[in-house]
């Protein structure tokens, strides 16, 4: 199996202990190119930790992460498997961008500057070229008119759409979404979800931790249900959510639909 035919991202036996808490207890799944994978589960089930392990913001204690068939996060050093140095992870992170629950825009930069920052500073691309692309990305998230606004002058929904544009500005192969609508008022969720739907229909590979069951059901190609640090159930969201086979998922589906 060559790198291009296989899954874009493959996770096997991922384990992570934070303090005394075993947050991840052996997680396995794959993400194919162009696929939208939703991760659901009760709070404390390890979803956000799992997402941060995928771009190595958090180093897993054990397990393997394969990106386009090649292991990331570990290096072979004289026959010994060693954690990679932070600076060797930077290139990988530019290929798998992340959008956060609390937006985390840089408050001292305008929307446009937020979007331009990484391509100019990290990728060292020419500023004029990046500016044109950043303006196009703001247009795509329907925020051209807010290019000069600072984060504190924007609504939560606008900030989150700028954050998505910022993530896209790295021209990533995949996007990670960490409960990106959870901090938003109901009337602002829609504008963010519609941007995500656009991306999905364009074939962007996405891994999304989400509580938006409508999004999971209608947009995700596959859903992974996490329970106590493990993948409890996985499959097509229409089947899995309609006919949960485990008692845990039955309880979870009841709790989010009530």
């Amino acid at each position: 199996m060559s790198a291009t035919d296989g899954p874009l991202l493959e996770v096997a036996g991922l384990e992570k202990t934070l303090g005394t808490q075993r947050v991840l207890r052996g997680v396995d799944f794959t993400v194919n190119r162009g696929e939208v994978l939703a991760i659901i589960g009760a709070s404390g089930s390890g979803k956000s930790t799992l997402l941060r392990c995928l771009n190595l913001l958090i180093r897993p204690d054990n397990g393997r992460i394969l990106w386009q068939g090649r292991e990331v996060g570990w290096v072979q050093n004289g026959g010994k498997r060693m954690p990679a140095r932070e600076r060797d992870l930077l290139g990988y992170r530019t290929q798998i961008s992340m959008v956060f629950q609390s937006f985390n825009l840089f408050p001292h930069m305008t929307a446009l500057q937020n979007v331009m920052e990484a391509p100019v500073m990290v990728m060292k691309r020419p500023r004029d070229e990046v500016r044109a692309e950043a303006e196009a990305l703001l247009e795509k998230v329907r925020l051209s008119h807010r290019a000069g606004a600072y984060p504190h002058q924007m609504s939560g929904g606008e900030q989150q759409r700028v954050a998505i544009a910022r993530a896209l500005a790295m021209r990533p192969e995949a996007l990670l979404f960490d409960e990106v609508t959870s901090a938003l008022d109901p009337e602002l969720k829609g504008e963010v979800l519609s941007v995500m739907r656009d991306l999905a229909s364009e074939g962007m590979t996405m891994v999304s931790v989400s509580h938006e069951m409508g999004f999971v059901r209608n947009v995700a190609d596959r859903v992974v249900f996490m329970h106590k640090g493990r993948v409890c159930e996985a499959g097509d969201p229409k089947d899995v959510l309609a006919n949960p086979s485990t008692a845990e998922l039955q309880a979870f589906v009841r709790s989010v639909t009530d």
Partner: protein
């Protein structure tokens, strides 16, 4: 009151003013420049550097500035390092001021939410770039008021240099007083001089704060 004592000795007082400006200015610039890397090291990822900067901060803040000043002027010659009075005073005062500055800078760096580091790391930024582009520009707003406040103390603390044979404002004033027995006029003029020096420092603080402020955020 007889202001002749001031006009007659204007040359001496002006020279002392210049010396104070030079010592305090050099101490302020050096101590801020040195404090930044120490503040970063203090909470940084390398254990050895964390300990080193913690010990530095403890020693410099726990020791009287005057003791440090005596150490650089009277102590260093004993181990073969001879500094003239002014450089020795600048060195001693800088050591003391750096210990305090680094704590104000450190507090400001820590006040930036950790989610900002996370967002920057997720964009593939290396640590020095995160500091320069993301953390410091935000921290500087928090740092400015207490740091400037400390720098006004440093400005006034430069009078300690008078204790190691530097003719700065306070030292020159004391010498004049013991010669003329007219403390009131002389102390008023010296007080005004410090007022001008620190006034300029505080004005500079406001300029920087204005320059850093974001539209609509005051």
């Amino acid at each position: 009151m007889n202001w002749n004592v001031v006009t007659d000795n204007a040359g001496l007082l002006l020279e002392a003013f210049g010396t104070t400006l030079w010592i305090a200015g050099a101490t302020i610039v050096l101590s801020v420049v040195l404090a930044f890397p120490l503040a970063v090291m203090r909470d940084g990822p390398i254990r050895g550097l964390r300990i080193l900067s913690a010990v530095f901060s403890w020693v410099m803040r726990a020791t009287p500035a005057l003791t440090l000043l005596f150490l650089t002027y009277f102590g260093l010659p004993q181990v073969g390092i001879y500094l003239a009075a002014v450089p020795a005073a600048i060195a001693g005062l800088t050591l003391s001021a750096t210990g305090y500055n680094m704590e104000y800078i450190r507090a400001g760096l820590r006040a930036v939410p950790s989610t900002q580091y996370e967002a920057a790391r997720a964009l593939g930024m290396p640590f020095p770039m995160i500091l320069r582009r993301v953390i410091v520009p935000q921290a500087i707003r928090t740092i400015m008021p207490p740091l400037t406040s400390n720098l006004t103390l440093v400005m006034k603390g430069s009078s300690l240099a008078g204790m190691v044979a530097v003719t700065e404002l306070t030292g020159a004033g004391m010498a004049l007083i013991s010669r003329t027995y007219q403390p009131f006029e002389i102390l008023i003029v010296i007080g005004l001089a410090y007022l001008i020096l620190n006034g300029a420092l505080i004005w500079l603080q406001h300029r920087v704060e204005n320059w850093l402020s974001l539209p609509g955020q005051g």
